[in-house]
C-alpha cells in the first residue's frame, strides 16, 4: 500500500497498521485477546437477552391486553388463585370484549422411568382463541380438547423422562397424581425457572392442579376495538380491590424485572459480561503496550522530527481501531456460531445483528481504552533519546 491516504489517517494509519502486521505473532495474540473478550461479552449479553426473552414468552404470545391477578404477585409463574366472581366482574366492565381464566401453577410430574420433576401447568381456554400453545411440531392442538391430554416442549422431553415423545409413540405420564397423555409437542418455548411448561385445556388443568372450577390464577381480557387499554385497566382496578390489573406490557416488564434483577439472576450474567470485557481489555492493553515499547525508538524519531502529538495519537489509536474492527468481526462470527448451536438447548443465546453491531462500540471502547497506557508511554519519551546510544 503506497497510496496517499489510509483510512483517512494518512501515513500515521499506515505506520500503525504496518507495525501491527510486522509483529505477526503478536498481532495474532492481540486478535485472540479481542476475540476472546468479544465472544465472552457477546455470549453473556446474548444469554441475558435469551433469559429475558424466556421470562415473558407466554405473556407475549397471549393475545390478551389486560392481566388480572391476585394482589401482590411479582411474576408470571407464582400467583395466588382468584375467584370466578372476578371473571364476571371483568366481563361486566364496558370496553372489555372478552375475558377468560388462565391457570399457571407449579405441580409435580412423575417421570415414567422414575423420579420427580416440577412442572408448570398452563391451562388455556381453548375456545376463546385468546391463548394457547404455539409452535407445534407434532400432534394436534385440537387433541388437547380431549380430557387428560397435555402438550410439552421438545426442549424438555428428556428432562421429563419422555424422550422421543411426539414421534408417533404414545406417552402416558402422571402429573400431580393424575394420568395424562402427551398429544402434542411444541418447539422452542423456554422456561426461565427451568421448570418445564405443560400446556393443557382449562378443564384438564383444573384436574391436574386440584383447583375448584371457580378458581384460576388469572383472568385475561381483550378490550373492544377502539377502547383505551389504560382506561379499561383503571376501571378494572376500581372495581377489583383484591386484584392487581396490568396492561400486557406492564405485566411483562414486571415479571422480567423480577426474574432478571430482583432475583439477581440477570445481574450475575451481566457481571460475567463485564468481567469478560475486563480480561479482554487487559490482554489488549498488554499487547498494544508491548508493541509500543518495541517501537519506542520510532516514536522518539517522530518526536525528534517534530511530529505533533496528534500524529502519535493517530498511530496508536489507528492500531487500536484496526485491532477492534478485525477482532470484533471474528468475535461476532464465533458468537453467531455458538448462538446457532444454543438453539437446541434449554438456555438460548440471542445475538441479534443490531446487538452485534452496537457491541462494536464496546469493543472499540475496550481497545481504545487499552491503548491509552501506550499513548502515555509514547508521549512521555524524550525526543533527545534518538541521539543517545
Amino acid at each position: 500500500m503506497t497510496g496517499k491516504r489510509h483510512w483517512g489517517m494518512g501515513m500515521a494509519g499506515l505506520l500503525g497498521w504496518r507495525n501491527l502486521a510486522h509483529d505477526r505473532s503478536r498481532f495474532v495474540v492481540t486478535l485472540t485477546g479481542i476475540v476472546f473478550a468479544v465472544v465472552l461479552f457477546t455470549m453473556q449479553v446474548g444469554l441475558f437477552l435469551g433469559f429475558q426473552d424466556s421470562t415473558t414468552t407466554i405473556i407475549r404470545h397471549t393475545g390478551a391486553d389486560l392481566w388480572v391477578l391476585g394482589k401482590g404477585a411479582r411474576n408470571f409463574e407464582i400467583t395466588l388463585p382468584i375467584q370466578e366472581r372476578e371473571l364476571y366482574l371483568v366481563r361486566s366492565v364496558p370496553g372489555v370484549e372478552r375475558a377468560e381464566p388462565l391457570i399457571v401453577q407449579f405441580v409435580p410430574w412423575k417421570k415414567p422411568g422414575g423420579g420427580d420433576e416440577s412442572v408448570i401447568v398452563v391451562g388455556f381456554d381453548l375456545n376463546s382463541g385468546l391463548a394457547g400453545p404455539w409452535g407445534l411440531v407434532a400432534g394436534d392442538a385440537a387433541e388437547l380438547r380431549r380430557p387428560a391430554t397435555v402438550a410439552i416442549d421438545t426442549l424438555f422431553a428428556d428432562k421429563l423422562g419422555v424422550p422421543g415423545a411426539g414421534e408417533g409413540k404414545e406417552a402416558t405420564v402422571e402429573i400431580n397424581g393424575h394420568r395424562a397423555r402427551i398429544v402434542a409437542m411444541t418447539q422452542g418455548i423456554r422456561s426461565f425457572t427451568t421448570s418445564p411448561w405443560v400446556f393443557t385445556s382449562l378443564r384438564t388443568a383444573f384436574d391436574l392442579t386440584g383447583f375448584n372450577e371457580d378458581r384460576s390464577n388469572y383472568v385475561i381480557a381483550k378490550v373492544a376495538a377502539g377502547a383505551d387499554v389504560t382506561a379499561v385497566r383503571d376501571s378494572l382496578r376500581a372495581i377489583l380491590p383484591r386484584c392487581d390489573v396490568y396492561a400486557s406490557e406492564e405485566f411483562a416488564a414486571m415479571t422480567r424485572d423480577y426474574w432478571m434483577f430482583t432475583t439477581g439472576a440477570g445481574a450475575s450474567v451481566l457481571v460475567s459480561a463485564v468481567l469478560g470485557l475486563l480480561v479482554g481489555a487487559v490482554i489488549v492493553a498488554q499487547v498494544l503496550y508491548a508493541t509500543t515499547v518495541d517501537h519506542l525508538a520510532e516514536f522518539g524519531t517522530l518526536r525528534a522530527m517534530g511530529a505533533p502529538s496528534a500524529f502519535i495519537y493517530k498511530v496508536i489509536l489507528g492500531q487500536a481501531v484496526i485491532s477492534a474492527v478485525l477482532g470484533h468481526v471474528l468475535g461476532i462470527a464465533v458468537s453467531l456460531l455458538v448462538a446457532k448451536g444454543s438453539e437446541a438447548g434449554a438456555a438460548v443465546i440471542l445475538v441479534p445483528l443490531p446487538l452485534a453491531g452496537s457491541l462494536f462500540g464496546v469493543t472499540l471502547a475496550m481497545c481504545v481504552g487499552a491503548s491509552l497506557v501506550s499513548i502515555r508511554k509514547a508521549m512521555t519519551i524524550d525526543p533527545a533519546m534518538v541521539f543517545q546510544r
Binding site: 501515513m11 520510532e298 517522530l302 518526536r303 541521539f387
Partner: protein
C-alpha cells in the same frame, strides 16, 4: 531576512546534566553560528560535548545557560509543541543509526516525513532519485545496504526542503566509500543554500567541510 543572519546560532551555551555530586558539565560557554551555504564539521574526542551541542542547535535540548536563535529569533520561550513545529519546518535530522521505520518501504519512509510537513507525497520519489535511490523505492530498510539506508535518511531529512540539516556521525556505520558518498551529498545540499552541521570522528569527512570546529571538554578549542 538578510543573508548574513545565521540560520542557527548559540551564544554562551552551557549544559550541565544532573545535579549535585552527579552533575556533569557537558558544555561551557560555546558560541557558534551556522550560516546559509556552509557545511560545518564538529569534531572532538568522545565525551567532549558534540552531540550535546548538536541537540541544542536542533532545539531538542534546552541549554542550562545561554541562548539559541533560529533565523535570528530566540527559541527559549517557545512551548514544546511550537519547538516541534519549528523543527518540522526548518530542520532535517540524520542519525548514526539511520532511524528508518523498518515496517515502511524507502518511499514510505520519505512520504511519512512529507505527510508530517504537509507536502505532496508524490515528492517522495523525486527525493529518492536525488540521493540515487530511484530504483529502490519499494525496498524495505532490511533489504538495503548501510549506505543506501543512510541515503534514504538523507532523502527523508530533505523532505519539505528544510534550511538546516543536522547529522550526528552519519558515516560511522558506513565504509569509507559509502561514507564519503553521503558526505558529498550533504556538501552539495549546503552549496544549494542550506546550513549543514555534521558531527564526525572521521578526518576525511571533516576534510570535505567548509569549516571545522573542534570541541574539547565542552568548549570550542582554538
Amino acid at each position: 531576512m538578510p543573508m548574513d543572519v545565521p540560520m542557527v546560532e548559540v551564544e554562551g551555551a552551557g549544559m550541565v546534566y544532573g545535579t549535585g555530586e552527579a552533575a556533569v558539565r557537558a558544555l561551557d560557554g560555546v558560541d557558534l553560528a551556522v550560516r546559509r551555504g556552509e557545511m560545518l564539521a564538529l569534531v572532538g574526542p568522545s565525551g567532549s560535548g558534540k552531540t550535546t551541542l548538536l541537540m541544542i542547535l536542533g532545539c531538542l535540548l534546552r541549554p542550562s545557560a545561554g541562548e539559541v536563535r533560529v533565523d535570528g529569533a530566540p527559541v527559549a520561550g517557545l512551548a514544546p509543541a511550537v519547538l516541534g513545529a519549528l523543527r518540522l519546518s526548518r530542520m532535517g535530522f540524520i542519525f548514526q543509526g539511520y532511524n528508518l521505520f523498518p515496517a515502511l518501504t524507502a518511499l514510505e519512509n520519505v512520504q511519512l516525513a512529507l505527510d508530517l510537513k504537509g507536502r505532496d507525497l508524490d515528492e517522495g520519489a523525486d527525493l529518492l532519485h536525488r540521493v540515487g535511490l530511484g530504483a529502490r523505492l519499494n525496498s524495505y530498510p532490511r533489504q538495503l545496504s548501510g549506505g543506501e539506508k543512510q541515503r534514504v535518511a538523507v532523502a527523508r531529512a530533505l523532505a519539505g526542503e528544510p534550511g538546516i540539516i543536522l547529522a550526528d556521525e552519519p558515516t560511522a556505520a558506513l565504509d569509507t566509500a559509502n561514507g564519503l558518498g553521503v558526505v558529498e551529498l550533504l556538501h552539495e545540499l549546503a552549496q544549494a543554500g542550506r546550513a549543514v552541521v555534521v558531527v564526525t570522528h572521521d578526518p576525511r569527512v571533516a576534510g570535505l567541510a567548509d569549516r571545522i570546529v573542534r570541541i574539547q571538554d565542552g568548549r570550542i578549542a582554538a
